[in-house]
Amino acid sequence: MEFLSKFPQMDDALLRDLKKAIDESFRGFTRAYGDALEAFFEPLRLFLVYAERFVTNTPWIVIFLLIMAIAWFGSRNWKIVVGAAVTLLLIGYFGMWEDTMKTISMIFVCTVISIAIGIPLGIAMARWNRMQAIINPVLDVMQTMPSFVYLIPVVMLLGIGKVPGLIAVVIYAMPPIIRLTNLGIRLVDADMLEAADAFGSNGWQKLTKVQLPLALPTIMAGINQTIMMALAMVVIASMIGVQGLGQPVLRAISNQYFTLGVFNGFAIVGIAIIFDRVSQAFGKRLQKHTEVVHG
């Protein structure tokens, strides 16, 4: 009757050996290729370092005005600009300016990298069904796998620091931009593509003149989602040495500093709202031509 009461699982010793074998071979791989991988990611690390140095070494007033300018040219909406100004000034007044800047520089780099990899991947998925069939399950894994699980091998390979943090954030934040680029291109009206063909457009012309412009609202929604998800990863990334607003939160958790946690938490929420409103207003502005409908 033991067969029924206990699930027939693999022999314990065998299972242990299996895990050990995998662990050891991965450790071997780490030892052999860790340095090479680190060298490979060196440009990325420099990008992160320069971005962070730029926002922390420049006088705060310059950065503040720069963000206001971006908010204004992105949204052309003074309410959003005033909201952003008040939020940033409050964050600074409560002593979180430096951490906030570090987080913003990190999010900026993560978003740039997600877009740079995500949009071409999305285009490839839209173009080849086989590509879609391969990438979709990978995206499912990226979105549902608990981030701690892939933090382990990343830290084993690259140690603690900015680059592993960046990789963890990008893995988590990139799926929306890939999925929505793919979706946006696939939703482009077949009539439009036929017209483009009828006028003799080649593949590149079709992509740049018809598919991408028409998919842009969807792609913008993807970028917005990517930024939001990157922000959500800030605390987890801080566990492997990424500086910024996540670090104080982490300290607050381990020491039960209620106020520290709440302040930094709200700072994250604040910049998330700024990013969201500005990027959405920008996306809407790009689509101005769809608003005025012939009566």
Binding site: G200, Q205, L214, V292, H294
Partner: protein
């Protein structure tokens, strides 16, 4: 202006469905559309089409939905690949072109106007009009100059900075027309171009097209499901049913000699006064015919001849040819008889 070129279609077949090439012999030896669908799950789109479209003329292809007319026009610029057959444009077989040659052909030899306009919503009228030229790599200055000329010509001056969404259907299709004309291609393909428009605007656009054609002299292939439109526009009309051409001819031929009951049914509703010309109804000259003083030229419609009679207070008219020589005589009783279907 590009020289007009004619289009010849030879033994064109299109079968939709898997394994189409294997079924082509079955169709050639007489398998019908229904049999093909029931036995092999394939759809016979076009069945042995043979057509000559004259250079510089408007060729109308008329049929109801499902007749294959939109499929046929898409074979001319090979948006659809045929299962078998040839499409000769100026002597070149479009079916055999390489992808590069086909692209060049589409850029320079054909332009297309679509039923649902297919304008890019994110581009202004001016940018939409210049799309074909942009794809050809024409420099910006030249593109704007050409686009502006055609925007003006289709009556949209002052709207060039508007987006398609801000225009009515009729105006959007004028943009579609301007875009096609900017290409300066000898062949203009119009796929139910006016079907989505209100009746009054449709008639208006037909006038625009006829008016333009006097000047541009392109080979126009015009698809429609509307017989009135076909009769008004077509120098020659082909009627398509279930993927086969069932009658080809001028509007007079179609109205006066419908090839079968199917066409006769359509023709019954047509305003004959506008289609039939006086020379088809007149009595030919005999030695003893007295020529009335009032005259009309051959090619005048019965409607206009009737107006003539009323205006002159006459009862009979002399029908004359281009050199003012008498061809025959027509009286009001004959006109009325022709109008009610007595010819």
């Amino acid at each position: 202006m590009a020289e007009p070129i004619g289009i010849q279609i030879r033994n064109l077949y299109k079968i939709f469905g898997p394994d189409a090439a294997a079924l082509i012999e079955k169709v050639r030896t007489g398998t019908t559309k229904t049999e093909l669908n029931e036995k092999y799950g394939a759809v016979l789109g076009l069945n042995n089409i043979n057509m000559d479209m004259a250079a510089g003329q408007i060729q109308v292809i008329m049929g109801l939905s499902g007749s294959g007319k939109s499929t046929l026009i898409r074979h001319i610029n090979r948006l659809i690949d045929p299962t078998a057959g040839e499409v000769l444009v100026g002597g070149d077989d479009v079916v055999k072109m390489s992808p590069e040659a086909l692209r060049e052909f589409r850029r320079h030899k054909t332009a297309m106007v679509f039923q649902k306009f297919a304008l890019l919503p994110n581009r202004t009228v001016l940018e939409n009009t210049g799309y074909g030229l942009e794809v050809q790599g024409v420099p910006r200055e030249k593109r704007i100059e050409t686009s502006m000329r055609w925007i003006e010509r289709v009556g949209l001056k002052g709207f060039e900075k508007k987006y398609p969404n801000q225009l009515s259907g009729g105006m959007q299709q004028r943009v579609g027309l301007a875009r096609a004309l900017s290409n300066d291609a000898p062949i203009l393909l119009m796929d139910e171009a006016f079907s989505a428009l209100d009746p009054l605007i449709r008639v208006d656009m037909q006038s625009v097209l006829l008016d333009l054609q006097k000047e541009i002299r392109k080979t126009i292939v015009f698809i429609t499901h509307d017989l009135d439109e076909a009769l008004r526009l077509g120098d020659s009309i082909a009627i398509l049913r279930d993927g086969e051409i069932i009658q080809m001819g001028s509007s007079q031929d179609i109205v006066l000699k419908p090839a079968n009951d199917y066409i006769a049914n359509f023709v019954r509703e047509v305003n004959r006064g506008r289609v039939i010309h006086v020379e088809k109804a007149m009595s030919p000259l005999r030695a003893d015919t007295a020529l009335p003083a009032a005259s009309v030229a051959a090619g005048t419609s019965l409607d206009d001849a009737m107006k003539h009679l009323v205006a002159r207070g006459a009862d009979r008219l002399t029908v004359t040819d281009g050199q003012n020589r008498p061809l025959g005589v027509i009286d009001s009783a004959t006109i009325v008889a022709a109008l009610v279907g007595g010819v």
